[in-house]
């Protein structure tokens, strides 16, 4: 089956946008302490671990990289291989649902708009579905445009708010020990779905993929570093009491007569979220395609969209669901399994098969 291919730059820009969306929802509660500066190091360590975690993916996909991990599983593992696309599909529904739920929680708790937050969420899923239906090329091109808007939006907010930066707000690094850094590493890896995305979508990417991956790591590290530094430097202790400190950062910005740029910030977040959801939904579509061996069925996309929406509404609506699905450890293991363990198994199964055939 011949598939449309996107460039490595387009893919990793889409992944960058997805990552930024997750970073925006960062808070002290999740990073596990009262010195958020440590999380910069957490992110760097997470990226180093991520580079290692990605090795099985590169190995499994091989040199040609024409088939994704779900397709390879179906090929090399018989009936057991069917579980792999199902697992990846469920993982993408989970990732999409949790990202959306976080946004809905933000809307309900922090912004409290005059209209239903559910309506916003539904509209977001609708747009993401439309993008996923048009294909990876559409999503990737749109991601490039959103990337520019995101850089401009964040650049505007960050450059304005930078005037409030005070060195007095910075605290010594690792003053509370290394546990917070460790917790940050787990958090960042837990909220990263790039490994699963790579395992499923990389066959549809052409060009210098490894360079793109390292570029993504460098770019997101820079973004996280600047964001955290500004949160701490501008908000000081106030940041630790906020559920969404990046939002607070945006809401205190003002350019002469233009005040309260938080609506712009939320809009930019939403644009990024649509790209992330569209990528997740499209990845689900590819998983279904591998499972049914048919060309990316559209009904599956609709079903996935509904599943993501229902999961997001359920998580945002019930605290028990939040405890389960937004649990960092749970998401961390999901990342490790989908990004490292499964590709490793697939690679091993493939290597074994090749060895047997060689004999």
């Amino acid at each position: 089956m011949e598939r449309t291919k996107i460039s490595s730059a387009q893919f990793f820009i889409a992944m960058f946008v997805s990552r930024v969306v997750v970073t925006i929802a960062l808070n002290a509660h999740y990073t596990g302490g009262e010195n958020m500066l440590d999380t910069i190091f957490s992110y760097l360590i997470a990226m180093a671990i991520g580079a290692v975690l990605a090795v099985p993916i590169w190995m499994a996909l091989g040199r040609s990289g024409e088939r994704g991990v779900p397709e390879l599983a179906m090929e090399n593992m018989g009936w057991a291989g069917r579980l792999v696309p199902i697992c990846y599909g469920l993982y993408f529904v989970l990732v999409g649902g949790t990202s959306l739920a976080l946004f809905q929680i933000f809307l309900m708790d922090t912004v409290n708009p005059g209209f239903s937050a559910g309506m916003v969420i539904t509209a977001l899923v609708g747009v993401a579905l439309y993008g996923a239906m048009r294909g990876i090329e559409t999503v990737a091109r749109c991601a490039t445009c959103v990337f520019v808007v995101l850089l401009l939006g964040c650049g505007l907010v960050f450059s304005i708010v930078a005037r409030r930066f005070s060195l007095d707000n910075l605290e010594p690094l690792f003053c509370g020990g290394l546990s917070q850094t460790g917790q940050g590493v787990v958090l960042f890896l837990a909220r990263t779905s790039i490994f699963a995305d790579m395992a499923v979508l990389l066959p549809q990417v052409k060009g210098r993929k490894k360079l793109g991956f390292f570029g993504w790591m460098a770019g997101t590290s820079l973004f996280v570093g600047v964001t955290v530094l500004l949160i701490v430097g501008c908000l000081g202790r106030y940041a630790y009491t906020q559920n969404f400190p990046v939002y607070v950062l945006a809401s205190i910005t003002e350019v002469r007569s233009l005040q309260r740029l938080d609506a712009v910030f939320t809009g930019v977040w939403m644009m990024g979220l649509v790209i992330k959801l569209a990528c997740d939904l499209y990845a689900c579509r590819v998983c279904f395609s591998a499972l049914t061996k048919r060309k990316e069925p559209k009904w599956a996309l609709w079903a996935t969209g509904v599943a993501v929406l229902v999961l997001a509404l359920a998580i945002a609506g019930q605290s028990r669901m939040q405890r389960w699905f937004l649990d960092t450890k749970f998401l961390f293991w999901c990342t490790v399994i989908s990004g490292g363990a499964i590709p490793l198994i697939i690679w091993a199964a493939g290597a074994l098969g090749r060895k047997r055939r060689g004999k």
Binding site: M119, A123, E137, T138, R141, T144, L258, R260, V274
Partner: protein, 484 residues
């Protein structure tokens, strides 16, 4: 397929039956070279003077011609008649089409073929300045309804043998002729083939304007991948970049394919001014597009849901004017927008003598009375007026903009600024997912190509730079071979 009969009487009867009750059908019996002959034509489509001077007079003066009907026709064709456009035709259906295209048909008794002559003599409009594509510095001639005149206008500007005009026909009943105009060796053969294929899929009986063909050429999307122009100089510029122009008989504009989104912002004036000013104008048009599409939506969204975004002084002014009107901002803007569209349509359709009156009355009623009576607020009126004016800076996009504005208005009312943002992403998705004959509509912005983007999109580079390098439309980033 019916072939012309060698019996002249039979041919006459056939044509008379076909043109029964058609008062413009003319049949003239002649005695040519010692045998019977007849000349057929349709009144009003041919020039009687040309027929008399170039056909009838030489025929009458020809002496006796030996041989049968076919031999006489050969002799007449080669030695008697000297009209430039003449050919033999044996198929009856073709003869009918030619008759209705302003040809005269000469039939000889005993000859199973006819001679047809191009003696068109109908009135055509002169090449006036295009009404919808006014230029400050460009040429003042525009296309007319005759596609042959239009072909000559292009040919006069491009004296190269690579310039091709391929003839085709659409419409089961109207058999409207059209010409595919392209530069051989520059236009993509795949795109050309695709255009031919899509034109073949045209299954309407008539093609009364180029607009009929557009829906058979484009493939969905909010913004069309098919462009139109009334200017021969624009067509020349476009075909030089590998595009294909379609000239349709009876339409004073040419269809251009593939047509990218950025081309909606490009006018010939941009290239006739100095680069820095061309770039400035280009950005002005981009800003106008955004203003026209998003301003009403953002105004309603901010005034209704996010007043905190506005500076205090402006917020107070808006609140003060809104307090004096009976409608909410959304209803007010919607009513004003609706009234504006009604006025525009009325101004466009009203007889020319009345359109000024319509505009004055409309302007007075809406502009003055509505505000002073307290029915609508001045800020809302200003927003709608600004939007309308900005829309005319990019006239090619007026149709999609009119509907987008409405959509963003509703989105802004229901979901605030976020609704507008969601709408923007949806629009971006649509733009990014649409292509025009395999060329991405948003190219070279998405997919991005720095060289091309800084050549004629983000900046209008100088001619020295524009002259260098490849700018063929089929080589835009992300272009691919297309198939149905």
């Amino acid at each position: 397929m019916e072939i012309i009969s060698a019996n002249l009487e039979e041919t006459k009867r056939y044509l008379q039956k076909k043109f029964e009750n058609a008062m413009d059908f003319m049949a003239r019996d002649l005695e040519v070279g010692g045998g019977k002959a007849a000349l057929f034509a349709l009144d009003g489509l041919v020039s009687k003077q040309i027929i008399t001077l170039s056909i009838l007079n030489p025929l009458m003066e020809a002496g006796s011609i030996p041989g049968d009907g076919s031999a006489r026709l050969n002799y007449i064709e080669k030695a008697v008649l000297g009209t430039m456009e003449q050919k033999r035709e044996a198929r009856m259906d073709q003869i009918l089409v030619l008759l209705m295209s302003g040809f005269a048909v000469l039939c000889l008794d005993g000859c199973p073929e006819a001679l047809v002559f191009g003696v068109q003599g109908f009135e055509t409009r002169g090449p006036d300045e295009p009404q919808n594509e006014v230029m400050q510095r460009g040429a003042k001639d525009g296309f007319t309804e005759s596609y042959q005149n239009n072909i000559s206008m292009i040919r006069r500007r491009m004296k190269t043998a690579a310039l091709k005009f391929e003839k085709a026909e659409v419409g089961g009943q109207s058999r409207t002729p059209l010409a595919l105009c392209y530069l051989e060796g520059v236009a993509s053969p795949q795109i050309l083939e695709q255009v031919r294929r899509r034109l073949k899929s045209y299954d309407l009986d008539t093609a009364l304007g180029a607009g009929y063909l557009v829906s058979f050429l484009e493939r969905g999307g909010v913004f069309s991948g098919v462009g139109m122009t009334e200017r021969p100089d624009v067509v020349c510029g476009k075909i030089e970049e590998g595009r294909i122009a379609i000239l349709v008989e009876g339409t004073p504009s040419a269809i251009l394919v593939p047509f990218l989104f950025v081309e909606n912002f490009q006018t010939l004036d941009d290239y006739l001014t100095r680069p820095f000013y061309g770039t400035f104008i280009r950005w002005l048009k981009y800003a106008s597009f955004f203003l026209s599409a998003f301003l009403p939506g953002l105004y309603v969204a901010i005034a209704t849901h996010h007043p905190e975004m506005l500076p205090e002084a402006l917020l107070l002014k808006i609140a003060e004017s809104e307090a004096q009107t009976p409608f909410p901002v959304m209803a007010e803007t919607l009513i004003l927008y609706f009234l504006y569209e009604v006025l525009r349509e009325a101004g466009l359709r009203a007889p020319r003598s009345l359109s000024t009156t319509v505009s004055i009355v409309g302007g007075l009623v809406i502009g003055d009375t509505a505000v002073s009576s307290g029915l609508v607020s001045a800020p809302s009126l200003m927003v709608v007026a600004l939007t309308a004016i900005a829309g005319y800076a990019v006239p090619r996009l007026y149709e999609p903009l009119a509907l987008l504005r409405l959509a963003f208005l509703l989105a802004g009312n229901f979901l605030g600024v976020w609704g507008v943002m969601i709408g923007l992403v949806l629009l971006l998705m649509d733009l990014c997912g649409t292509d025009s004959f395999g060329v991405p509509l948003l190219s070279p912005v998405a997919p991005y190509n720095r060289r091309l983007a800084f050549r004629d999109v983000l900046v209008r580079a100088g001619w020295r730079r524009l002259a260098k390098g490849n700018a063929k439309v089929q080589d835009m980033p992300g272009s691919r071979e297309i198939g149905e």
